[in-house]
Amino acid sequence: MEVPILKQGEVLIATFQAALSDADLEHLRRGLVQQVVKLRSRGVIVDVTAMDVMDSFASRTLREIAHMIRLRGAETVIVGIQPEVAFAMVQLGLTLEDVVTALDLEEGLAYLTQKFKNTD
C-alpha cells in the first residue's frame, strides 16, 4: 500500500490512509527520508488520523523517521493520533519520546511555520 507524500512549500505531508503493514511502514520511512533530501524540505508532517492501531513496530518506525529527519536538519511532527489509540499506546508502554506531536494537520503546520520563522 502506497502512502502518498505531498509537498507543500518547505513541508512534506505523508498521510496514512489505512492499515499499514510493517513493510509499508519501512517503505514510507525510506521514501520520506529520500524526499526530504531531494526536495530540501525543512519539515515533515506524518498524519496518522486514519491509523486505528499503533503497535510497538509502528511507533518505533515513527520515532526512527523523526530521528533520521532531524539528523538531516529538518523537523517532524506526528499529527492526528486518535484518543483511543493514544490510550492503547500508553497501556502498552509506548511513547514517542522526543517526537513532536500535534492535534491535527492544521496545528502541525502552524507549529512548523512558527519554527521556521524563529530560525530564519
Partner: protein
C-alpha cells in the same frame, strides 16, 4: 473449527494486519466500545508480531466467550517456535531477545483483562488472553 471461531494463520507482516482487523471486527460485532476494540486490536497486533519475529509462523484464534454474567472475547496466539526459556524474564518490561522493543508481553497483559502463557523450549508458545465487555 468450532462455530464462531475465527482462525488466522500468521506467516508474514501482512497477516498481522489481517488478524487485528478480524479481531476489531469481532469486538465491534460483540458490542465492545471503540476504545476496547482498539485495545483488543492492538493486543492482537503485538501477539501476532511476536509470532512473526520469534517463531516465523503460527496462528491467532479469536472467539466469543460467555461467563454467567458477561460476554467477552478470547484470543489464543500459538506457535511451534523456539519457545521461551524464562517466562518471568519475558514478562518484564524492556526484555527482548529479537532486537524489538521487548514490550510485547507485559504490554499485552496490561491491555487485556486476563492473560495466560505457556511455553516449552523447542516446542512452542501459547498465549491466551481475554477481554470482558464492560
Amino acid at each position: 473449527m468450532r462455530a464462531g471461531e475465527i482462525r488466522v494463520s500468521i506467516n508474514s507482516d501482512q497477516d498481522i494486519v489481517t488478524a487485528r482487523q478480524r479481531g476489531r471486527a469481532l469486538a465491534t460485532e460483540l458490542g465492545f466500545s471503540t476504545g476496547d476494540a482498539t485495545l483488543i486490536a492492538t493486543a492482537i497486533s503485538e501477539l501476532a508480531r511476536n509470532i512473526v519475529s520469534y517463531a516465523r509462523k503460527g496462528e491467532i484464534a479469536l472467539k466469543m466467550v460467555n461467563s454467567s454474567s458477561r460476554q467477552g472475547v478470547l484470543i489464543i496466539a500459538s506457535d511451534s517456535g523456539p519457545g521461551i526459556r524464562d517466562i518471568r524474564q519475558a514478562m518484564r518490561d524492556g526484555f527482548s531477545t529479537s532486537g524489538s522493543l521487548g514490550l510485547g508481553l507485559p504490554g499485552v497483559r496490561r491491555l487485556m483483562d486476563e492473560f495466560e502463557i505457556t511455553s516449552e523450549p523447542g516446542r512452542g508458545t501459547m498465549v491466551t488472553v481475554k477481554k470482558w465487555k464492560q
